[in-house]
């Protein structure tokens, strides 16, 4: 393993192709191997960069099995968070954060935006009529605020991932560049691979040609976008300029040749990434690639949305085929439904564990990438059957580079999500004091200090 790292660090571009073929031939076993290379830039950084990952799972939780037992620093996970056992020092559970009240839309629709932006939705006609319909979110999300600052140093200012995420609407979007500008998450692991790693397969000459061709096309397209934008009224111009901005960021990436000293992971044989049966495999493929992208310093900021708010995902591999949203409406007295919801939420905790384990395989400084990472796992609701926003279940994970004292079971007085969002911005080096258009206070979450 170490030997591989050493050799690949020297002749990386040439080796990457051979390496992939080799690993491909190993098949399933290969996926289990820790394949993370350590790019020079990261290795040279004394402690490694800070990274942040926001995770979303839908339809609320079952608090009795979500809350750990015990005290603030001496606690035991109950059923839902039991997959995190053994990593207690890397986990902080916060009971008491709430989505700030206000704005149009049903609570399912509001949830992802309140979790990520502490902000209201725009008016619009998504999701029924009358006063529960809404548009998209009205504010930049925390990940994008961070991406604006730290994202400029990496090829991808941020990565937005999803697992069986669904169509284009407010319930399936957790990241926003700006008001009314939701970011489409990638939920196809093979397309993600192509996007992040495909070019690594090319030899230097073809890569140069590809780059020159793409830049030439971008020149032409940019000119056309600019001219149409200049002629358009404000609303259309905003759209076209957003398009232009994206084209330019791709252009910068091509010009800088970022990512060339990175080794592609293996994604194995193609499976149907939308099949219910493959949900876990797809989720893990996304997480593998996320960890690799961060290890290669392709990005330091990411979001991942499991399904979407109000998701009716079924999880046949858990042994039942009930739809998640319908289950979440069952009353507390329905023990069978409660048990299934516990298992679904436990599954997502297991995926968090998977992510933590992968991060912990990447050596960085004196520790691992997990030490430098903060993971924030949230939800659009507290309880599914009462649609409550007060509180909502929040789990922090990772070492957070020592910025917060982790390993705590916090039961706090009801506090708006905005405080936590400010804490995450500050963790990533920003000095913002407030965040979101429903922010009623200032500063980070006091309980974390």
């Amino acid at each position: 393993m170490t030997t591989n790292h050493q050799s690949s660090r020297h002749a990386r571009t040439r080796l990457s192709l051979r390496r992939r073929r080799f690993l491909g031939a190993l098949g399933a076993t290969a996926a289990a191997l820790p394949l993370i290379p350590v790019p020079d830039s990261v290795a040279q950084e004394a402690g490694g960069h800070r990274r942040i990952i926001y995770l979303f799972s839908p339809n609320g939780t079952i608090y009795d099995e979500w809350n750990p037992s015990g005290g603030e620093t001496d606690f035991t996970f109950r059923e839902i968070l039991s997959p995190l056992e053994g990593l207690e020092p890397y986990v902080t559970v916060i009971d008491g954060l709430r989505h700030p009240a206000g704005g149009p839309g049903s609570r399912h629709a509001q949830g992802p935006h309140k979790f990520m932006a502490g902000s209201r939705l725009l008016d619009g006609d998504q999701g029924g009529g009358g006063n529960t319909s809404s548009g998209y979110g009205s504010h930049q999300t925390a990940d994008q605020r961070i991406a604006d600052v730290v994202g400029q140093e990496t090829p991808f200012s941020s990565l937005e991932l999803g697992v069986q995420n669904g169509g284009a609407n407010v319930r399936s979007r957790m990241a926003y560049r700006a008001s009314n500008q939701p970011i489409v998450p990638e939920d196809n692991p093979y397309a993600l691979f192509d996007r992040l790693f495909k070019d690594l397969d090319q030899d230097e000459t073809s890569l140069e040609r590809l780059r020159a061709e793409r830049l030439s096309v971008i020149d032409a397209v940019s000119g056309q976008l600019r001219r149409v934008a200049d002629r358009s009224g404000t609303a259309d111009r905003v759209k076209l300029e957003a398009h232009l901005e994206v084209v330019r960021s791709i252009e910068r990436r091509l010009e800088n040749g970022f990512g060339a000293n990175c080794v592609a992971p293996t994604v194995g044989d193609t499976i149907d990434h939308q099949a219910d049966d493959n949900y876990q495999v797809v989720s893990e493929l996304m997480l593998d690639q996320l960890v690799m992208a961060m290890a290669c310093d392709l990005t330091r900021v990411s979001t991942l949305m499991w399904s979407r708010a109000t998701s009716n995902q079924i999880f046949p591999f858990l042994g039942f085929t009930d739809k998640h949203h319908e289950l979440s409406h069952e009353p507390d007295s329905n023990g069978a439904a409660q048990n299934k919801l516990v298992q679904i939420n436990r599954f997502f905790a297991g995926q968090l564990r998977y992510l933590m384990d992968r991060l912990a395989e990447v050596p960085e400084g004196d520790g691992t990438m997990l030490d430098n990472t903060l993971i924030v796992w949230g939800n659009e609701l507290g309880k599914g059957n009462s649609h409550t926003h007060r509180p909502v279940p929040i789990v922090l994970a990772g070492g957070a580079a020592g910025h917060f004292a982790m390993g705590r079971n916090l039961d706090i007085e009801e506090t708006d999500m905005n405080r936590l969002l400010v804490s995450t911005l500050q963790f990533m080096g920003l000095d913002d004091d407030t965040f979101g258009n429903l922010d009623q206070g200032s500063g980070g979450l006091a309980a974390l200090a």
Binding site: N131, S179, V184, S216, A220, G233
Partner: protein
Amino acid sequence: MDMRLHTSFRAAAPLAIAVAAAACTGIIGDGVEDGSAGPPGSDDDTLEGFSPLRRLTALQYERTVRDLIGVSVEGAAVLAGDERVGPFKSNVVAPVTELNVEQYMAVAETIAQAALADLGSLVTCDPDDIGELQCGDRFIDDFGTRALRRPLDADTREEFRQVFAQGRETSFEDGIRLVIQAALQSPYFLYHVEVTPSGDEAEGSEPVALTPHALAARLSYFLWRTMPDRALFEAAERGELSTSAQIRVQVERMLEDPRAGFAVEQFIRAWLHIDDMRELAKDPDLFPEVDDALLESMAQDAARVGDYVVREGEGTLDALFTTPYSFAQGPLAAFYGIEPSDGEVPVILDRDERAGLLTQPAFLAKAGHSDQSSPIHRGVVVREDFLCQPLPDPPPTVDDTPPEVDPDATTRERFAQLTSGPGCAGCHRLIDGVGFGFEAYDAVGAYREREGDLPVDDRGNVVGAEDATGEFEGAIELSAQLAASQITRRCVVNQWFRFALGRIESEADERDLASVYATFGDHADLRELIVAIAQSRPFITRYPGR
């Protein structure tokens, strides 16, 4: 800019919601957390029209590439999902993000590479004969004009020449490939660009006529869901799209084309919410014969019947809602218990069991649970998409789990009990009275007179729906009641308008729509409706953006 978009979308609300939601939300009261005032700085009072820039849907992309280049690509597999306007796919709100643009880049590279396999069909000149540069120029003009759906301006032509030169460093073919790649990423290809060369700033706030090429593209994406053909391009170039009579000639020509059949089928599928049957699962113990293939064939038959009525048959709303045509073969014929049709001439199903669109099993199965019918889903679709009266979401505290199946009570009895509570009844009197009318059809849309040992009660009552209001017995009577009503006819006009323009109607459209309502209200002739929409002022003009 949020304000602008959001203003234009809200503009639909005062027109559409009026009756149902007012009655309904008044009872729900504080079902949501607070009021629905706009974000800071919004100006909800201004309700001028606006024609938002629209981006091709995945399906439009796929069909355009096929017609432009002859290359097959599955749009839905390589492009991110589409937004919807009402029930129809249309990308009008969110701008593209990095993922979209990288998808466009990747798929353009794949398509351009594939196009080289049959270069002769795209490049009509011989570079050995007239020289590579000249042949490249000719290709840029010919292909570029079709790809961008307009004559090239000097800047754009020059940009493509630069791209061609870059590719030609490798070879002539690579020059061509790169021009294709660039054209497929041009905003003129990816969006329905309708702004005129003089720009919106110069145009004030009154609606302005579309350029002939923009109108040609509107017609083709309305009627065909793809780019204009040669004849339409030529009509645009010759200025033959400038009168209502000329537009009629084109529309009638285009409706004869199989591409129009595809578009009408898309309309029907979206309208009935049956455009994706894959997400449907029926209880395999109760319905062992119902698999994905049968469900999809139900949707295909519904769409094909709709197209048949619109383009070949009577062409009236009445026929669409009351004549039980089917092209059923194979498992679908077995499902109906009929002799298979020959696939060409429609058979007429038992008129005591089926009427038209609203008795299509695809609709009934889609708006049904896995193990029982769903009066609520069925009622909501009728209310929202056939009466154009949007309903609010259930209040946040409601438990909307379907009741347990119980052999001692009918579905109707179980649901009626569930929705009669004080927080529910306000809206459900608008929903259930319609939905119970479909009780003669089970979870998969099969006709039934008994539910287990109990007789089916499919009497219903439409309330708060203007001239569609009134009691009825069964979905067949309901269908006739709706087809004859002005409120449904107006709704049908609105739905075709949304399908045609890819946006919600606004107050600025009201006066023009009123005359379409009046005409369609008299005869309910669907072919004439399509012509009338294509001739209407909102269709042949655009509101400059601000």
